[in-house]
């Protein structure tokens, strides 16, 4: 069953961004299942359910109330159960500090939220179709930030 589609999860406190995210995947002709959570706590609760189905790709907004994306990232990387989840940072900021921190904590890719819907569609389509095995092996600080 899981081979049929890619299971994508987003944690973002911004209602608009969640809407864009869902709409973009609706318009993309890719077999995906999309789930969204409105903050880090909600996300971690869902993931920590023993019978939870784990996503293939997890998109993390950094600036969230209660539990930030970075905190989620650290928690996920500490737990061996989540080792197969590819983590994409999905943030408005592209400050050196944020990029550095998330890279060091083991995120797989860093996406700066684009300001055009078509760009968003393209980025999401690229991320979903990435060969993660290949990408993760050759990961370095230069190709960590996804550029259009």
């Amino acid at each position: 069953m899981r081979e049929d589609y890619t299971y994508v999860v987003l944690a973002d406190d911004d209602e608009d961004d969640r809407l864009f995210f869902i709409e973009a995947f609706e318009e993309l002709k890719i077999q995906t299942k999309v789930e969204v959570y409105k903050d880090g706590i909600e996300l971690m609760c869902a993931l920590n359910q023993p019978e939870a189905v784990l996503p293939n790709i997890l998109f993390l907004d950094l600036n969230m109330p209660k539990k930030s994306g970075l905190e989620c990232l650290i928690e996920i990387k500490e737990n061996n159960r989540f080792k197969d989840i590819a983590i994409a940072i999905y943030s408005t900021s592209a400050s050196e500090e944020d990029i550095e921190n998330t890279f060091v904590q083991g995120a797989n890719i860093y996406i700066k939220k684009p300001s055009a819907f078509n760009d968003l569609k393209k980025i999401l389509s690229d991320v979903v179709t990435i060969n993660w095995q290949y990408h993760t092996n050759g990961l370095n600080k230069d190709n960590f930030l996804l550029r259009l």
């Binding site: 911004d14 608009d16 864009f20 709409e23 600036n63 408005t92 900021s93 400050s95 050196e96 939220k113 684009p114 300001s115 055009a116 819907f117 078509n118 968003l120």
Partner: protein, 595 residues
């Protein structure tokens, strides 16, 4: 060297003293011998004189006896015979005396024996002639013969006495000669010794006066030193103290009293009195330090507070070191400084630093607000606009479409403003360290970023080979990106832009508008274009934040790009200078120091 001189002269004086002592002893010895010799001579003369007298006495006694005998013979008066009796005794005495006097002279002893014989004989003849005269036979031949014989023996006695006198004179003469020989050298010797003593005295005087002069100079130096120390104590707010270890006695300098807020030497300098000034919280600490000082005869740097009589609290710092002089006498030399001002300044600086840190934090949180919170709504506006365009385009009137275009242009301008502002505020020196950078590669990277516009405008960019230099790579790339895009942007219409980037070296003195710098030589990179140029009057103004020479409808831009360039160059301790002429082109020259 002066101390060596003093010690040398001390040795010299010791030697001189030894020599003088010796000379005085010699002089004393010589004088003693001289006097002794003289008294010997006097003794000799006296002895000679006594012998003479005794001989004379004897002779006169003999003569008395003779003349008494003659008187008796002539007058037959027996009273004339009286001296005869006493002269016998006199002769006996004189002989005894002579024997004693000439005990050391064998020849005289012999002479005395002979004399005695002759006197005895003469006395015997006396007796005989006297008897004859008593018997009244003065005219007998026997009497006359006796008389003659008497005269002969008398002569021989006189002769012997003369002989003895002569002998005695000879002995005296010999002794005199001998002592004269011995004594003749003495006055000369004494004279020489005297001269020598005077010389030594003179030398000693010279040496001592020289020493005194040196000591005087040293004293003056010490006096000057003392005054300057007192002065420096007052200026630099410190006081000196001495602890005489053996006697456990303290000495405080005047200024130490002043530091305590007291009149100089107004109380007895001892530990108890001093501790009465110390801040109650520090008394224990200081006492501990002092007891350690007494134990180890050393005092490392310590800090404590004191309270002056007027209630003001001062911070003190003290340090001491042991000094052992040549005699093994131990003194602990201490310095106590009032560091209240230092500490207050330090606190002020600390406070300022905290304020600075806080304002820096505020700035960086402002950065975050700008980068994140301001961009987010803007991004949403843009995304919704793109959704509107995609989904609702057909439902919009033409003017509606125009308005959407205007909103799009405005929002993208706002985006570039935010981006550039962020870029400007992030261009900070402290963030990145200088590293050896290949400038050619950085320029190439900037060109790659501009590839699209270069292709659109068919621009030609010629770049010299530029040596590697110490720089912050991403900032230098940004610098060329901004300058090249500037040149591309302000190119002349209908002419493909032509930009040259050239390199040279410039001496510090030839860098314009720079009066003094710690660097000697500068890398000089010149970016020249044949674009629309600008009025030279604005050459300085274009580097000021948000300053634009053109209306934003003519040329897009935020007015931040060149400000970023200036900031980057200044981060590298360099200078950037613009030159322009309207319609001819613009030249930007960058001077970066060679380190």
């Amino acid at each position: 060297m002066p101390f060596k001189f003093i010690s040398n002269s001390e040795r010299f004086l010791k030697i001189i003293f030894g020599v003088s002592l010796f000379v005085v002893l010699v002089m004393g010895g010589v004088a003693y011998r001289y006097i002794k010799e003289l008294s010997n001579s006097i003794n000799d003369v006296q002895h000679n004189y006594q012998v003479h007298i005794e001989l004379e006495k004897m002779l006169s006694a003999l003569k008395d006896a003779e003349s008494g005998k003659r008187g008796f013979i002539i007058s037959q008066d027996s009273t004339f015979l009286l001296p005869l009796l006493s002269s016998n005794q006199q002769i006996e005495n004189s002989l005894e005396e002579l024997k004693k006097l000439t005990l050391k002279d064998p020849q005289q002893q012999e002479n005395i024996a002979e004399l005695k014989e002759k006197i005895d004989k003469s006395l015997a003849i006396f007796e005989k002639t006297l008897q004859l005269s008593i018997a009244n036979n003065p005219d007998s031949r026997e009497f006359i013969a006796g008389f003659r014989e008497g005269r002969q023996t008398m002569n021989s006695v006189r002769f012997k006495i003369n002989e003895m006198t002569a002998h005695e004179n000879d002995v005296l003469g010999l002794a005199k000669e001998k002592s004269v020989r011995r004594l003749s050298n003495a006055p000369m010797l004494l004279y020489y010794v005297l001269i020598l003593s005077l010389l030594i005295l003179l030398l000693t005087y010279l040496q001592i006066s020289k020493n005194l002069k040196v000591l005087k100079v040293k004293n003056e130096l010490l006096e000057t030193f003392k005054k300057s120390t007192t002065q420096s104590e007052v200026i630099s707010k410190h006081g000196n103290w001495i602890w005489h270890v053996e006697e456990d006695v303290y000495e405080y300098s005047d200024n130490l009293f002043r530091l305590l807020g007291e009149e100089p030497q107004s109380f007895e300098p001892n530990l108890e009195n001093y501790l009465s000034f110390v801040h109650p919280d520090d008394v224990e600490k200081l006492s501990e330090h002092v007891s350690q000082m007494i134990e180890h005869e050393d005092l490392p740097f310590i800090h404590y507070r004191i309270i002056q009589k007027n209630g003001s609290i001062k911070h003190f710092k003290a340090y001491a070191k042991i000094l052992v002089d040549a005699d093994g006498y131990k003194r602990l030399l201490g310095t106590t400084a009032d560091i209240t001002d230092e500490i207050e300044n330090y606190r002020l600086i600390e406070k300022r630093n905290l304020e600075l840190e806080r304002s820096n934090k505020e700035l960086s949180s402002f950065n975050y607000v700008a980068s994140h919170d301001l961009q987010e709504p803007l991004r949403k506006i843009q995304t919704f606009l793109s959704r509107l365009e995609d989904k609702e385009k057909d439902n919009l009137s033409n003017s509606g479409k125009l308005y959407i275009e205007r909103i799009k242009a405005s929002s993208s301008r706002m985006r570039s403003l935010i981006d550039d502002l962020l870029q400007f505020s992030r261009t900070n020196k402290s963030e990145e360290a200088l590293e050896d950078s290949n400038i050619n590669i950085l320029i190439e990277a900037a060109k790659t970023d501009l590839a699209e516009i270069i292709a659109d405008k068919k621009a030609r960019i010629i770049v010299d080979d530029i040596p590697s230099m110490r720089a912050i790579p991403f900032q230098i790339k940004q610098l060329f990106l901004n300058l090249l895009s500037n040149s591309l942007k302000y190119s002349r219409e209908n002419t493909s832009p032509f930009i040259t980037v050239s390199y040279s070296k410039t001496n510090a003195s030839d860098v314009p508008k720079v009066s003094h710098t710690k660097y000697n030589v500068f890398h000089t990179i010149t970016i020249m274009d044949k674009g629309i140029g600008f009025d030279q009057d604005y050459a300085e103004k274009i580097f000021v934040l948000f300053n634009r020479l053109h209306n934003k409808n003519e040329y897009s831009g935020t007015g931040i790009g060149l400000s970023i360039c200036k900031k980057i160059v200044e981060n590298h301790n360099g200078y950037i200078i613009a030159k322009g002429e309207v319609g001819v082109g613009a030249t930007f020259t960058i001077y970066l120091p060679i380190t």
